[in-house]
Amino acid sequence: MAQTTQISFTVNGIRHELSVEPRWLLVDVIREQLGLTGTHIGCEHGVCGTCTVMVNGETARSCLMLAVSADGAEILTVEGLAAGEGLHPLQEAFREAQGLQCGFCTPGMLMLAHELLRDNPAPTEQDIREAMAANLCRCTGYQGILQAVALAAGRPATPAGTR
């Protein structure tokens, strides 16, 4: 078997000591070794952003990052977003504005929005659009996602446009 390296990192507040092959991607370690399957794989070449997680407070594409590069890091995945049972207010906003359909890109979108609202609690519509354009969604046409982020920011949601 290939050589492995000892690393440790914290995921959603739980510290892990792991033995990984240096070539293993962070997303594969999160999913395969830790069993946290809420983080999904969309393209494995860094374009779609489906696998986005937070590493040391910054969003990262876990399909472009080696697990060994996350040694010592604090990682947040979708499973750690809500405190306790129930949904995080951001997740509630996604539900209310229907910022999702199939749910596959959703964990990555939540991570993007989480970072945006932490750094910019009162984003303009353009701020939201630019930030959320980092990830791809194939179902919604983005309108619900943008409205969800605006809703979560405590601003009145952009008019739904439905008459």
């Binding site: 395969e32 374009v47 359909q101 749910g103 659009r129 990830n135 179902c139 046409g141 983005y142």
Partner: protein
């Protein structure tokens, strides 16, 4: 139209699906983990056409962690050919046998302890190829002298047919003008963010094969997979998964199931094969139609449409999996929302050295609508008429429904002028024209597009075979199970999987309406194929209609029993029992009512309180058949009603085009849809905005391109461009509701309209923007290169 007051249908209730999806707790195929499970990777052909002379897998087998390596030889031994929906002799295995016919075709597959090791092993497989002649141009391919892709076929022209309905020759002869357009619709692909995949577990002792896969049709054609996997159909069990988007691309998935299945047989362990994005882009069931139209519209000088004649060459790629089904879809609405007495449709399906077509939202009607609406815009231009007026003048009037089209398909209901009026009112067309005129004075190119479309929904399977002389399938049912437990809680079981939108919510809202309960109280589950009832699964915009129908049917059966029990209790007549506000009550006697939990408890555990002859328990199952399907006539002059629930829509996009850079920017986008009674407005809005966004992709960005040597040019998301949040406008969505007379609650399907209308509407808008240059749009996507070339060519004229 009388307005019916409803408690839940038509209300924006929160989706039942959302909490688990938002929490990352739904189980998608890649989330399945079984003890001892191996991971697969596939070696794909670098050649568009070649004979496989020799495959040496010894180095791959010797790699530590590798359990099995399979090739075409193993595919022949362990499997049968993949299910195909065509009568023509085009044989396809999950792994190429003897010969590869497109770049990316699976040649060998490995099962190993992890995906990394499996991929390492594929690099150790040595394949010797003998290149064969490559053909990528369908016109070249169909020549009798061109080398054939499939020996049993007479040529690469796999299928050819002309269907004529009404007096086409007469209508063309008496027309004042014939508008002719040659149009090009390139292949796009569905690209759901979740790729296709399967986990297979085989028990050689019992011959049992369990499959966990994001295939959409677990009951309808699931048994065909048993044939492919060479297991008895009764021993195959397909488990429904949460599906991360399909858009038509996950109907069958015989390739991934076949590969995982044969590896599971060979390795004696469960095997997971998830496509990576490259697998999906190059070799899945993603690719849409790829058509060359030569089309003519016969019109009078007053702009009345008399007839349409379409000749379409469709480049199917290397195999013929879904046959000409996408042309059956197009036939459902060839004449669109317009009165026409006749039409002729000639299709030539050609095989070339590219990945085969699958299905993508719109499924052939998308291209068909682009063709029709380009002709309509062409007629307006040539006759000097307003593009809105010419459409309005030809609309089927609201009092003409049900309307029989020239080929016999029925349009159930519609109010096309109302949809158009609403779109124009929302868009403020006069204001837009002023904006456009002012912009032109400043040298800016602003365009207003308009397109209509029919939104056929609830397909009938006759469309697969009315092309041939012999008859075929006539069922496309959907079923649910319903139970009311002893605690008064309702459970609905579905027999088709979650494919990416809101089936659970539709089911819960319908049941809530039937029983007067809160939809949030309904539990919805999915059943595997071994315990399944008939269900054709998602596809052809059918699920909202079919699930609504199935739930209403099951609710009626359950109510019959509940009414008997309640009537017995109150010494009333069963027909006097009504169901509302969470209770069964005697009509007109409000004090005589029982809540569902008391009825449930009684039905399950108080047998001696039940009327004589009543079994314990409260359970009903219902299979809802296609609500309006008729047989084609023997001479095929009348194809019967096969796609009768007909929605409608009008889009008005406003774009600004830069002819120097080719950039297209949306200033506004108005879309009005009529898909009958709306069950959940928010869910429908998502379908519309998502569909339009895919239509924007088709119109401006997306093309699954090959070069002339058969090499794919779009092998990553860097090349195959999906629209991001920056490319879409703030959509303005409006609704008209014309209920269907044939379905429960008057529901129609609304899954595909956005993508069917947007390409035609955007083409119209770009053409309108560049009208001062005299540009004609006849090819999509309108990439910057194409727009600059169109503008330059127009200026040079």
């Amino acid at each position: 139209m009388a307005t019916v007051e409803r408690q839940w249908i038509g209300k924006d209730v929160p989706r039942l699906e959302d909490p688990k999806l938002l929490a990352g707790r739904a189980t998608y195929t890649d989330d399945v983990r079984l003890p001892g499970m191996l991971h697969a990777a596939v070696l794909r052909s670098p050649h568009p056409h070649a004979r496989i002379k020799r495959i040496d897998t010894s180095r791959a087998r010797a790699l530590a962690g590798v359990f099995a390596v399979v090739t075409g030889e193993d595919a022949k031994e362990l499997t049968n050919p993949l299910p195909a929906f065509c009568a023509e002799p085009v044989v396809q295995y999950a792994l190429a046998v003897d010969r590869v016919r497109f770049v990316g075709e699976a040649v060998a597959a490995v099962a190993a302890v992890d995906r990394y090791t499996a991929e390492d092993a594929t690099a150790l497989i040595d394949v010797e190829y003998e290149p064969l002649p490559v053909v990528t141009d369908p016109f070249e391919a169909m020549k009798p002298t061109t080398a054939k892709l499939h020996d049993p076929l007479p040529s690469n022209l796999a299928f050819e047919k002309t269907l004529t309905f009404g007096d086409v020759a007469g209508d063309f002869a008496s027309a004042d003008r014939v508008v002719r357009r040659k149009l090009r619709w390139h292949r796009a692909s569905a690209q759901p963010l979740e790729t296709a995949g399967a986990v297979c577990r085989y028990d050689p002792v019992s011959q049992r094969m369990d499959v966990w896969s994001n295939t959409n049709m677990i009951n309808f054609v699931g048994w065909l997979i048993a044939g492919t996997l060479k297991v008895p159909a009764s021993k195959l069990n397909i488990h429904p998964m949460y599906v991360g988007g399909s858009f038509g691309s996950k109907h069958v998935l015989g390739k991934v199931i076949g590969i995982a299945g044969m590896l599971a047989k060979r390795a004696g362990r469960p095997v997971k094969f998830m496509e990576d994005r490259v697998d999906n882009l190059l070799a899945s069931e993603n690719l849409a139609c790829d058509r060359f139209y030569d089309a003519e519209l016969a019109v009078t000088r007053d702009g009345i449409f008399k007839s349409i004649r379409i000749h379409v060459v469709d480049d199917y790629g290397a195999y013929f999996q879904f046959g000409h089904g996408t042309h059956g879809n197009a036939l459902a609405q060839v004449t669109g929302p317009y009165r026409m007495a006749s039409f002729e449709y000639t299709v030539q399906c050609v095989l070339t050295n590219k990945c085969q077509q699958g299905v993508f939202r719109g499924a052939g009607s998308d291209a068909g609508n682009f063709c029709l609406e380009r002709l309509v815009d062409g007629a307006a231009q040539e006759l000097g008429m307003d593009p809105v007026e010419i459409r309005r003048r030809n609309f089927i009037a609201p009092d003409r429904f049900p309307f029989k089209t020239p080929c016999g398909n029925i349009y159930d209901s519609g109010n096309y002028p109302a949809v158009l009026d609403k779109a124009l009112e929302m868009a403020d067309l006069a204001g837009l024209r002023r904006l456009q005129a002012d912009a032109r004075k400043q040298g800016r190119y602003i365009g207003v597009g308009i397109a209509t479309a029919q939104q056929r929904s609830v397909y009938g399977p006759t469309e697969f075979w009315f092309w041939y002389d012999s008859p075929g399938l006539t069922s496309a049912p959907e079923s649910v199970g319903l139970s009311l437990g002893p605690t008064g809680e309702f459970i609905v079981t579905m027999f088709s999987p979650f494919w990416g939108n809101s089936p659970e919510t539709v089911v819960a809202q319908t049941l809530a309406e039937e029983f007067g309960i809160d939809p949030a109280q309904v539990t919805v589950t999915y059943e595997d194929s071994q315990h399944g009832l008939p269900g054709a699964g998602p596809g052809g915009s059918r699920m909202t209609v079919m699930l609504t129908g199935a739930v209403v049917g099951a609710a009626r059966k359950l109510k019959d029993k509940l009414a008997k029990i309640a009537a017995h209790h109150f010494e009333a007549a069963p027909e006097d029992i009504v169901f509302a506000n969470g209770r069964a009550a005697v009509r007109g006697a409000p004090d005589k009512s029982l809540p569902y939990n008391e009825l449930g408890l009684k039905a399950y555990w108080f047998k001696l309180d039940l009327p004589a002859g009543t079994e314990s328990g409260l359970e009903a199952r219902h299979t809802y058949d296609h609500p309006y399907l008729t047989k084609p006539s023997a001479d095929r002059k009348d194809l019967g009603a096969f796609y009768p629930m007909m929605g409608h829509g009008v889009h008005v996009p406003v774009v600004e085009v830069e002819p120097e850079t080719g950039r297209v920017r949306f200033l506004r986008y108005v879309a009005v849809h009529d898909v009958g009674t709306i069950v959940n407005p928010k869910s429908l809005r998502g379908q519309i905005t998502g569909g339009i966004t895919q239509g924007i992709g088709m119109a401006l960005y997306e093309e699954s391109a090959y070069d002339g040597d058969g090499q794919p040019l779009t092998g990553s998301f860097m090349d195959y461009l999906l629209p991001t949040a920056m490319e879409v406008p703030a959509f303005e969505i409006g609704h008209v509701e014309t209920p269907s007379p044939f379905t429960e609650y008057g529901v129609k399907g609304g899954g595909e309209g956005g993508r069917m209308i947007a390409p035609a509407a955007i083409a119209s808008a770009v053409e309108d923007a560049l009208a001062p240059l005299g540009v004609r749009v006849s090819e999509l996507p309108l990439t910057p290169e194409r727009i600059v070339a169109l503008a330059d060519a127009a200026r040079a004229r």
